[in-house]
Symmetry: C2
Subunit: 491 residues, 2 copies
């Protein structure tokens, strides 16, 4: 998930100062109220080495009454600590009622540091069980992960190392983290996904710009304390309370380069090659009983149909199924919203290609209000579960978001309107959806972040150029199958 | 957990007939109401071979309108089914809104059949995630496990095999289950514990007497449907709705043989032997850094203090700690109820002996109303989590319930009252607790069933004879330590 996030968010110093003062005043008042209400508050800071945890903690503390908080710095488990049950030292540091405990690293130290340990799954489970117990008991827990890019981290580590006052802060472990950045990124993402719960979600902070990060962190803390105070007053909080946070969400689509393109000649050549490789792989899949699931999502007119046609053109039709997602029928409506997809899953050796899918819940249904806030919010977990089930059945999973910009969409709509053979494809609904472009961007960003997993990754396809998009789709499927079946790509 | 349950519950045929008719009428009316409200209902039957699942399903069906239910029989995953993701065939069979689906075996077929498969943890997780999604979506799921003893199962299998009309129903797999009964019992228990959730708990049915079992099953189904209907009318159900079920709880203490006794001479001999073995083990524990946790719970005057004294008498005092549980102090009160125990956990190589413990929540606090129903109900999960954490830190865990009968307790109270050296031990509270004997039995039964785990088992100690009790405690601890440290008992 981390790899998807756009890290370019910034805030000018001029804009920052009054904002910070305003947030500080609000936070300080909320701290007093939370104290009166005896709410124990836990704030966790995790993140990359040199991502600025210390700076951010300081900026937060300056807004707080010093008599009401404690800061705990957590080192990797060693020495005396290693002689106690893992959670012991963290349980001891949980705040008394009315106190704020801030953790610079936390119970996530072990899962983040040793993701390959055999204790890793148990540790992740312990972390979320621990949080569940504290939340059930009235604690508010806020978890931040400070995210920076490989390049930024490298730069910061070099700067720290060069300065004799700070060089002691850089150790071999930090440098190793930077060298293995991509692996670490995948490992961090998986830990975050496994420990992201409805009662205690992670907030990923784009931490390249420290002003932006500070404002995001304080805004989240303020919104969460306010929500907790309301929760104590009414048993059913309104999830829309978090609307004020929408400015501080994680961006993904922002960072997609839509100028990518290939020539028609190259397209033709690649298409033939990839289709014939896929044809062989499809036969091999069948013999080795490997199931394949492809999911196509994307903007209206982004070219899903064309990409699917190029994908299936040369395949044996007995070995695949294209599943369109029309509106559910009466029988489907009488069941759980996932039921109709479960009835369409491929058996071993077969492929199922979903033209739109179970992601409807967190896009169109979310935006059009076809389901409740509670329903689409829990759908992320349901979706991750479905895909985990597929993975557990050894399924190769490829998910595509076909991305175009609004201008390109308009151009394509116009072409459809003016072409009698294509005009049936264009409906009033398409125009209406277009008006909600920004809402869709928010929903898609969240979807891409929260449902990217190592075994069911999203591929964002730059689709302003149809040729480029079709080749990228084919290539992704071919490579995923080759990887699973242990074939060296002859590229 | 299953081993603890008292299977002697019975109901006479005379009593049964009117009860069954009454329950049938209620159930039939509730089915119509649930249909009107479009509640999808799932009833799962699992249990031992020859535990009478078929009979029980038939008795339940006779009360239902045949147009409103479906029965699904599940065979072990094989053939075509094995080619789909595991949950596929169960998802397809989930009921439409307003329908009752009854499963003769279910998605638990894999976890129950193959607990040693590497997919086992994932399967258990899939089962509870699946149920979570259905429950979130308004489904009511009721899970029964039909439990019979090894002896009863053997008898039933023999009867089935002898009769030529039924002999086809007994296969090698069933006979194997009976031969490996004790192992299977531990495996079933673990699966039940892992998949026992607040939103979808297991109901263990004592199935040796088929009338008793039928009445229990129907009563549970009725109570659950009623609660679900109420839930749809008010968002926060009253957990006391289940009070009517208290007659059908699982019994444990019922079955304890309190006549066990040993002579004073044997006591003295054994005591010396065991204490010197324990002394050596304690030193070895220290060297090998094995932590030990002993938990003592039991009736007032059951002899906890005496047993703890005999346990620690010969040990190096630097290597253990006895932790009494007095009322929490102000600092402790300002934290989560488990916080004070986390601060007392032993470090590697040390022993902590808890004279009363975190089990207070599900006994005295439950009965005296010191916590809410919701709090003590979720405490079972919290307790299992604590002990799982200890286990994960390689802790040897021994938990004792010292059991005496009310007459023995009265005798001991009188002795204390009349003995000036002991009278301080007896308080008014002891007499008050005594009046709540039956409530405690209910709470203790539930505690023993729900918190017995392979790594933190309960030992129920027959303590009417103090000598017998002390020896059993010492022996249990000695054997647990020997087992952990790989020593052959020289008994």
């Amino acid at each position: 998930m981390l790899t998807h996030i756009d890290l370019s968010k910034k805030m000018s110093k001029k804009e920052f100062k009054p904002k910070y003062e305003e947030l500080s005043a609000t936070l300080s008042a909320l701290q007093r109220e939370a104290r009166k209400l005896k709410i124990p508050i836990i704030i966790v800071f995790e993140g990359w080495a040199a991502s600025g945890k210390g700076t951010q903690i300081n900026m937060l503390l300056q807004a707080l009454d010093p008599r009401g908080f404690e800061v705990h710095t957590t080192k990797p488990t060693a020495g005396e600590d290693a002689m106690y049950p893992y959670l012991c030292r963290f349980w001891k540091k949980t705040p008394a009622r009315g106190v704020i405990s801030i953790f610079d690293h936390s119970w996530y130290i072990d899962p983040f540091t040793n993701p390959k340990s055999e204790k890793y799954p148990a540790r992740c489970q312990q972390c979320i069980d621990f949080e569940r117990e504290l939340v059930d008991d009235g604690n508010l827990i806020i978890k931040f992960f400070l995210h920076i890019s490989k390049k930024e981290q490298k730069k910061r580590l070099a700067e720290l190392a060069e300065n004799e006052n700070t060089s002691w802060r850089v150790d071999e472990h930090d440098l190793e983290q930077n060298r293995r950045y991509d692996d670490k990124c995948a490992e961090f993402s998986e830990t975050i996904r496994l420990t992201d719960t409805p009662y205690c979600p992670w907030y990923i902070v784009e931490a390249e710009d420290k002003e932006y990060a500070a404002v995001k962190i304080m805004s989240v803390v303020i919104a969460k304390i306010q929500a907790q105070i309301e929760l104590m007053q009414s048993p059913r909080p309104n999830p829309d309370d978090f609307d004020q946070l929408s400015d501080y969400r994680n961006y993904v689509l922002n960072g997609v380069d839509l100028t990518k393109t290939i020539s028609k000649d190259e397209y033709k050549e690649q298409l033939l090659k990839l289709q014939s490789r896929l044809r062989l792989l499809h036969a091999k899949m069948y013999r080795e009983r490997v199931p394949l699931v492809c999911v196509f999502e994307g903007w209206d007119a982004a070219g899903k149909g064309g990409a699917i046609r190029r994908l299936t053109e040369k395949l044996d039709p007995r070995g695949y199924n294209v599943v369109p997602s029309s509106a559910p029928n009466d029988i489907e409506k009488a069941h759980n919203h996932l039921w109709r997809y479960w009835t369409k899953m491929p058996k071993a050796g077969h492929a199922a290609i979903f033209d739109r899918s179970w992601y409807g819940r967190v896009m169109v249904e979310r935006i059009e209000g076809f389901c409740t806030t509670d329903e689409w919010q829990r759908a992320y977990r349901e979706i991750n579960n479905i895909e985990r089930n597929l993975y557990d059945a050894d399924t190769v999973i490829c998910k595509f978001w076909l991305h175009i910009d609004p201008d390109e969409q308009e151009k394509r709509f116009m072409e459809r309107r003016d072409n009698p053979q294509k005009s049936w494809k264009l409906t009033d609904e398409d125009w209406r959806n277009r008006e909600k472009w920004d809402e869709y961007v928010t929903a898609v960003d969240e979807m891409l972040v929260r449902t990217s997993t190592p075994y069911a990754p999203w591929t964002v396809v730059e689709a302003n150029d149809k040729y480029y998009a079709r080749i990228k789709v084919l290539k992704t499927v071919v490579e995923a199958l080759e990887k699973r079946m242990g074939i060296d790509s002859e590229k």
